[in-house]
Symmetry: C2
Subunit: 197 residues, 2 copies
DNA sequence: ACGTCGTTGCACAGCAGTGTGCAACACTGG
DNA sequence: CCAGTGTTGCACACTGCTGTGCAACGACGT
């Protein structure tokens, strides 16, 4: 903190740092308060309120960023012909940010659950559509409706991203295989897909 | 509330009702306070404190019950020869209570996470052991270490129990298939196992 | 030097939840 | 009828977080 020679750099510099740090802090404790976030960001609580009028505002901004990133990755990955190939590409692309945004899964329950759920809705729809496409094309299993199955596969990715082996190249591979398996893709094909991402 | 003619029945009657209702209330909102739980149980906040000195006490008791039930079911199911058969039996047996105790998954984060995590530890170990046994016997896949893989399969069961199709016989079947798939069991065998529970 | 802007420090009001104390009440069994 | 027990209603102190107001400070560009 004291080593930081210059104070303010640009308009959005502090704002961005707060957002970034908020993801980390809330990721470890979804109930963390504004004070905790502020301290972690190296600023005072009052400063956070200067950028985000309320706690909900902060979280909403966070969610909007996550939705934008994931939706972009998802639509780009969904361009692939086969649904299983598209899913594998999605996991590979989304992996770098999955761990950062894992808090949103926990944040869907409690307090702001409603707001977050509605913001996250579009992503859920995209996911369900992709899975539905796979089920229609006999690529994915039909033991569950597309809506639930997509949540299951997506949960698998986030659970692995949340575990200790989040870092390292083995994480992406494991997440791809695990999510494809739950989607009903045979192990051999899942393994093959996890290598050509 | 007014229809309840007699007041107190036995020593544990109110206590048990509080515990039961607390699971429901906390299931919908893990941040629910003692007042909310008390009202839902048809008593006053003060009464809850009469049975449980603190909020942590309530939740700990809840967790201990869950651990006891799940551990019993798990050890009984694990008696089966093959690991995949054991898992299928476990899911079938644990299903009736999985939905009730789903809140514990959410409660592991935030505030009492530490306490709950330690209480839930033994169950995690049992689960990991069973999965490890399956991996050693070439029944389960090895794309993930037993510890993570067991959490994945167990999460799948709870996610399905938490979805709309929690009620109905189709839920157990879906949960069994989905969890077996993620464990690496081929779809055909998983489907067969899900019928003979 | 001057005004601007982001930041700081502090004070404050408000709210919600926790946990406690205590007197009053209702029901039960002897 | 009376003592015991569980419940109630209310009061209270305490804590922690939210959100606001405001004066001061420091860096920056002109």
């Amino acid at each position: 903190m004291a080593t930081e020679s210059s104070r303010a750099r640009s308009l959005n510099e502090t704002r961005d740092r707060i957002l970034g740090v908020a993801l980390d802090v809330l990721g470890e404790n979804p109930d963390a308060g504004m004070g905790e976030i502020a301290t972690a960001a190296g600023v005072v609580r009052r400063t956070v309120y200067g950028h985000f009028p309320s706690r909900l505002d902060l979280i909403r901004t966070l969610t909007e960023r996550a939705v934008a990133e994931m939706a972009a990755v998802l639509t780009e990955a969904a361009a692939a012909e086969a649904a299983d190939v598209a899913w594998a590409r999605f996991v590979a692309r989304v992996w770098p940010v999955a761990h950062r945004y894992r808090v949103l899964v926990a944040l869907r329950r409690g307090e702001f659950g409603e707001a977050i759920h509605s913001l996250l809705g579009p992503v859920d729809v995209l996911l369900a559509d992709l899975v539905q496409r796979g089920q229609d094309g006999e690529v994915f299993a039909r033991h569950l409706p597309a809506g639930v199955l997509s949540q299951l596969a997506y949960n698998a990715v986030f659970t692995i991203a949340d575990s200790e082996l989040a870092g390292g190249a083995s994480g992406v591979r494991a997440a791809t295989i695990a999510s494809l398996l739950v989607l009903g893709v045979p192990e051999a094909r899942a393994t093959a897909l996890s290598d050509r991402s």
